[in-house]
Every structure is written in structure tokens, then in C-alpha cells.
Symmetry: C2
């Protein structure tokens, strides 16, 4: 994989300019924005940016690029975290932000077909009066296409699943410029290979979404939010494990470790006990929400937590979850003068307490500060680690920490990334986690994109 | 794709006999049993059968076969319905029935890792005292490996999903004899391509499962079963659509058309009104089940159904669902002297009433008898059609009917198969449904199995 010679790059840019006029740009600041990654990785800018308005634009761009073996990188809003948008050997960024329409809505089927550039907040505004909503919430107001590409999830995945479950079918442009539909709109199907789920989470390396049909859910009649604290991480995790075994359908269940709670107290002027804390949310009708909260409270008590508070009143709910809602900013404030980034690991829930506790020990041993927050129902957690700006030695120590974290998660039967993806930064751990299976991924990649033009340099396949 | 010459076949059989002794058989009746399909398709027998005891046996068999380009067909219990087990160009059947052990059980994670030959009933017996169960119920007591291979589902998929959702990760032998793990045991992951879901539903054409880690669910505290009738299929379907929009988490919701009800009355001596009928099941605690039943009853009333009966008492529940439980036998009894088979189509639920009603009209116009039963929450339904034994002209009429049914489902945005798979019989409709996407499936197949030795002759790829 090498950068194309400048003459070829110029030729591709000329053809794109002819095709798209001022919807093509090779202005440096535009290109730089499109390698924005929400990461501390060095920007690797593409050679040009196409603002697509339609699937035809995407097909046209891919066909021009394919002819010259020019790399192509899809761009939603730029909220990915592992360098997915970087262009290590140049290429053309296709900006989907103007492909942000609802194509069709079927309330009876509880599905909506959208263009990939629509963001989850815009979609939920659009749906507001329908009684339905799109629950997946990765934090950022990401585009749905980007979320599908990284198999995003977040706080509500414990109840509503991840993008793996949310995408019913898709339309995508493949590396040769052909447009396919991955599946019918039927809720289930036994017809052929599951191309939908092959493309979801492939980080733009196998195809570019031009339409997605996604599942919606009824807006819950009643929402209850609650909070309680525990003596140990183990007590908190065991409370969640038993609750799930008792069929409590948590809508959200978030763990904050003692350091995260301290940071939130300092940032938001709260007076929470600096102990492992669970923030929970229940969805249902009044009776069901009350019963979920009562059962949860009982189980939490049996694990030594006696301060469970909950409310269905929106204002009180906001108050109870205030710490959780401000956690990212609190973490950043607790690491002043630092670059902060959020790492991501996920283990079977039976190993979560071990993994979090060992990670806390690791941080302490290495004199690092890293408040921890977890989507505990899924065994997924984040560590917010920071290092003094522009200090390479400190930066290296953080990378070594994330390496140990990935190894720890993998050794416990887990994954190096629950929801952020591989991108450029976790290439090494993909192989560590999945061994020879990565060879078969590469075989698929080579078969579907023989010239390796779709988002090259990600995943760490042999050529890279 | 052609049959190997007899000398090569003999050589492979000799090597397998040397490797496996009396766990290899080329006895004709054994081979014939292994092409059993629960279908009216002609048996196409394999050249030999290996009874595997371990993943090493599977690896060894695949390596011997791969050397000679000998086809390989996985066999569970032989309950597939579309000719998945036939060996059109011969080959070796690997019988997984002795690989039926539980490898490990993690109640905290609500997962179990099993060998593929274990059947769902055996697994549920094994789990009995754990408080957990494996909910997916395709009717037959299928092997879990077979269920994963065909992406099976059944009555409880509306609540618990299909094998697509049930399989967390797998171990599989690929066409070159290499053993891979498709994913970690973490509940979610953003690491790499979703090989798990690529293999699930691939009908043994991409790899052979040697272990599966599957999700379990808490055994519900209370189960309530109910039944009610409607004036039209549309009223029944609209009741289900509104109920799902109101967040009623049906555990099962089955539709029987008037002809199915008549057949059940005749077979079981029941006196149900011969009208479109819904059989429902709710899972939860006492309060939640009562609230689900009450809301459902209200919605059903609004659609003209005033005879909803339900009970949580096991004996009464069995009585209420008696018609549904005996439906297959009732359908067979209503078609005396006939070969009966069950076809399968699935549409977005918004089109289900149209699809069922048009199918009834089609049956009538063509003087065919075909009671209909549907997993209505998923838009999936079956028609039991029969034709006089050994009457080719009548058999042809039935095939023409299933062709019209597939076309109808596809034209409504649905699929030619919700849960039975493609096998040999639905090859034509796979292309009709998915167009060029099938080319990319074939590209993947060629890349992962270049000699086309894994279950050839299925899916209708170009070579076949």
C-alpha cells in the first residue's frame, strides 16, 4: 500500500471537480477537518473531499477512484475515536453529512430507512411525534452511517442491543462501484449470507452505506432513574449480574468507580460518597418500572448497598444522574493541562469486577490517573486517561497502559474494543484477540476489495 | 462441480476408514439416512459418513477431503427442510450427533458453550436446575449446530431473537482444515468483521461449527397463555402490530387461519370458532404478565375480538394452546393420502395480512388446500401444502404455488424464507430477492472455499 504519484492524484481530483463542481474540495483546511478523529493520533489528511448528495454521487466517486486505485474514506461527523478517518496513504473522503434524509418510515414495522449522514439526534427529533425512538446512544451525536460502520453502542445497548442488532438491512456501494441491498426488510430471514452484519462494524473497509433500514422502539411510558453505592466494584458487578439473572430489563446500568465519583463531585459540586456507584434506568409502564426498581433495590441491599434512590420525575431523574451525565467533562477537569482520551475494553460480565479492579491496581502502580466508567450490563468499560500535552514520554506510558488493558481483557475472554473499533490504534490487539480468524477477514477483504481502496491502513491487514 | 471419479472416492474412503475405523461407514443405508431431509426432494446420498467425536476428528476429516477436493456436508439430526443435507455430487457427511457435550457453562454471563451435536431439548434438560433456558424453538428437536447453520428461529423468536442473536461466538473448521474462533466471549465487540454472523446461516457452505457459545435467558417466573379469534386476518395482524407498538413483549404470538383452525377442530375434537385465531404467550412476573394480558385484551377488543381467554395454570394453558400444539399433525390429517410439506415466507409485518390473504386467494383459485400458521410477530408464516403421493402433475402444481408465494413475499419487501433456509429448493428465489448481492456472496464463498468442497450445490452459485 503506497501513496499514488502526484500526477494520478491530480488527475483524480480533476475528474472529481468536473463531476461535482464546488461539491469537491481540495482545500487544505477542509481536508484536515476530514481527518479529524477525536483522537490524539496525528492527522493524515485525504487528497480531496466529495460532498455527496445521493447514492449516485457515491457510486460515481467510487467508480472514478476505483479506476485509479485511489483510496476512499467515508466521513459522517468525525466522532470516531481510533483513527478510522485518517488517510495514511491519501485518498478521497466522501462526506455524507448532506445525505441526511429520512427515505421512508414504517411505524407498523417500527423501522425507518434513512440516508447514512443523518445524526441520531436529528433522527430522534424527526421521530418525536411517532411514539417511537432510536435508542442507541454512543454519547456523541454521531451519524447513523458512522455508527453502523463502527458497530457503535453505548449506555442503552444492555436493553436495546448495538448497531449489530439495530440495522435490519442496508444499501451499500461496493469497491467496484456496484450498489447492492444486503437483505430484505423482513424482520428475520434465512436467505443467504448475512451481508448486513458483515458490513456493519467493518469500518468502511468493505463497502459504503448509502441507505440503512433500522429498528425503532416504542418510547417508554415511564422512565425511572436511580443511583446507589457499594463498598467494592465486585459488589456492584454482582448486583448487576443477579439482577439480569432475575430478568430485570435494565434500560441503562452504568458503573462509576470511586475516582470517577470524586471527579464528578469536584466538577459538579456534588456530595456523593466516593465509592463504586451504579446509575440505573428502567423503562416500562408504571407497574413494571416500580417492580424493576423494587427488585433491584432488594438485590443491591443483599450486596451491602443501602442508599438506593430512584425517581420517575424528570427533574429528580436529571439530578440523580447528574454525575453520570457530566462524567466526561468531570474526567477532563480532573486531568488539567492534559490530553485526555477514553479507552475501551469489554469482557464477559463474570470477569468485569476482576478486570476493573486489576486495571485500577495497574493505574496506581504506574502513577496514572484514570477514572473508570462502565456499561456494566455488557461488561464494557472506559478508562479516561490523560497525559501532559506534548509530552512524548508520558504519551508512551499511556499507550503502554492501554496495551496492558487490551491484553488483560483478551486474557479474560474479552475483547480489546467493545464499541470504539480497531481503526489504526488497536491493530495489534485484533490479531492478539482473534488469531488466525484475522487471516480469513483479510481473505474476505481481498476478495471484495482486491485493490484495497476502501479505507486502507485500518485493521492491520498484511499489506499495511 | 462434478462428481469425483470412483478411484478417488475409494481412496478418500480408505483413508477415512484408516483414520476412524468403525466410526467411518459407507454402508448404503447409513449413507441414505444422512441425506434425509424431511423433504420430498430426492435423496442424494453421500459417499461415506464419519461419526466425529471431537474437533480434531472434524479437522482430520476436512484435511483428508480437502486434499482430494471431496465435498463435505455437516449432519446434525436431519431435520432441515430444503435439501440442505443432500449430496448432489457425492461427498462425506460428518455426523455431529456424538459431539453433544456441554463444554462450559457460565451462569453469571448467561452463556453456555456446547458442541454442535447437542439438541435443544437435551441442552434444556441439562440446564433445568440453573434457572436459565435456551429459548429458540424451531419445532423439531434439532441440533444446535444445525440450527445455527440454517439461522433457525420459530415461535419464540419474537421475544428472544433467532440464531443470529443467540450465537455469541463460535469455533469452526474452515475449508482448508484450519480451526478458528470467530469472536471473543464478550457480549459485544467492535473488533473486526462479524465472522460469527457470516457463518451463522451459511448452511455449512463456509465452515463447520465445532463449538458454539450461546446466550441463555432466565426461565420466566410466570407464563400466561391465551387465545382469541377475529373476523379477518387483518384484524388479527393489526392487533399484533399495535400490541408491539405498545411495547408488549410477546413471548409467542401465533396466527392460525380459519382453515388451520378447522383442521385442528377435526383432529383434536375441539370446538373453536373457525376464524382467524391468535395464540399468545406472555413471560414475566405475575404483575407484568397480568398487565401484558390486560393491554393485549383491550387492543384485541378494539379490533372486534371479544373472546380472549388466558390462564397461567399449566393445565389450562395446555388446553388453550391445544390447537396450536397439534397444528402440524392436524394439517397432515386434513390432507389424507398426501405428502405434506411446510413452506416458509416472511414479510414486514405491515404487509403480513395482505400476504396471507392473497395466499389464501391463490390457494382457492388453484383448488389447493393449505392451512396457514404464522409467527405473526415476525411477519413469518408457513403454509402446509399437500399433494397426492407419487403424483407428479400435482407435485408440479405445488411447486408452482410455492414459486408464486416466494414472488409475492419478495414483492412485498420480504424474503422467500424466514427460517427454513435456501438449500436446494429456494436457489432461484435467492437471486430474485437479493439480486447482485448474491454475486458478492459467491465472491466470499470462492475466497473462503476455493475448491467449493463445503456443502456444494446449495445456494445456486454459478458453478452449480
Amino acid at each position: 500500500m503506497a501513496r499514488l504519484d502526484q500526477k494520478t492524484v491530480d488527475q483524480v481530483c480533476k475528474e472529481l471537480e468536473t463531476a461535482f463542481g464546488n461539491r469537491f474540495s481540495n482545500n487544505l483546511s477542509v481536508r484536515d477537518t476530514h481527518s479529524h478523529n477525536e483522537t490524539k493520533l496525528r492527522h493524515e489528511v485525504p487528497d480531496g473531499v466529495v460532498y455527496a448528495l445521493s447514492k449516485d454521487d457515491v457510486v460515481k466517486t467510487v467508480k472514478i477512484c476505483a479506476r485509479y486505485k485511489m483510496p476512499i474514506i467515508g466521513f459522517g461527523v468525525g466522532s470516531s475515536l481510533e483513527g478510522q478517518l485518517n488517510a495514511p496513504v491519501g485518498g478521497i473522503s466522501i462526506d455524507f453529512s448532506k445525505m441526511d434524509q429520512v427515505v421512508s418510515f414504517s411505524p407498523e414495522d417500527m423501522t425507518v430507512t434513512i440516508q447514512p449522514g443523518i445524526t441520531r439526534e436529528t433522527l430522534n427529533s424527526w421521530l418525536r411525534d411517532s411514539g417511537l425512538f432510536f435508542p442507541i446512544d454512543p454519547g456523541a451525536n454521531a451519524s447513523i452511517g458512522g455508527m453502523a460502520s463502527t458497530r457503535a453502542s453505548g449506555t442503552s445497548a444492555v436493553r436495546y442491543g448495538t448497531m449489530r442488532e439495530a440495522v435490519l438491512c442496508a444499501e451499500a456501494v461496493m469497491a467496484d462501484g456496484r450498489l447492492i441491498r444486503t437483505a430484505s426488510r423482513a424482520k428475520k430471514s434465512a436467505a443467504g449470507y448475512d451481508l448486513t452484519r458483515l458490513l456493519v462494524g467493518s469500518e468502511g473497509t468493505l463497502g459504503l452505506f448509502t441507505e440503512l433500514t433500522i429498528r425503532l422502539h416504542p418510547i417508554p411510558e415511564v422512565v425511572s432513574s436511580g443511583i446507589c453505592t457499594f463498598a467494592t466494584i465486585g459488589d456492584a458487578c454482582n448486583t448487576v449480574i443477579e439482577s439480569i439473572q432475575c430478568a430485570i430489563p435494565f434500560a441503562r446500568v452504568e458503573l462509576m468507580d470511586e475516582f470517577m465519583v470524586k471527579a464528578c463531585n469536584a466538577y459538579s459540586g456534588l456530595t456523593l460518597e466516593p465509592r463504586p456507584t451504579l446509575c440505573v434506568e428502567f423503562h416500562g409502564d408504571e407497574a413494571s418500572v416500580a417492580s424493576q426498581a423494587a427488585t433491584f433495590s432488594e438485590i443491591a441491599s443483599a450486596h451491602g448497598s443501602s442508599n438506593f434512590q430512584q425517581s420517575t420525575d424528570p427533574e429528580k431523574r436529571a439530578q440523580l444522574w447528574k454525575a453520570r451525565h457530566s462524567a466526561l467533562w468531570a474526567a477532563e477537569a480532573s486531568l488539567p493541562e492534559c490530553d485526555v482520551f477514553s479507552t475501551d475494553a469489554c469482557v464477559p460480565i463474570s470477569r468485569l469486577a476482576d478486570c476493573v479492579t486489576e486495571t485500577q491496581k495497574d493505574l496506581k502502580e504506574h502513577n496514572l490517573i484514570g477514572p473508570i466508567i462502565g456499561h456494566v450490563g455488557d461488561g464494557n468499560f472506559h478508562v479516561f486517561v490523560g497525559y501532559p500535552k506534548d509530552n512524548e514520554r508520558e504519551e508512551k506510558r499511556i499507550y503502554e497502559f492501554t496495551e496492558r488493558l487490551s491484553e488483560r481483557a483478551i486474557s479474560m475472554g474479552g475483547t480489546c474494543t467493545g464499541e470504539h473499533g480497531i481503526g489504526q490504534r488497536k491493530i495489534k490487539y485484533l490479531r492478539m484477540e482473534l488469531g488466525d480468524a484475522v487471516d480469513f477477514m483479510w481473505t474476505i477483504k481481498q476478495a471484495l476489495d482486491p485493490d484495497n481502496i476502501l479505507n486502507p491502513g485500518k485493521y492491520g491487514f498484511p499489506e499495511n
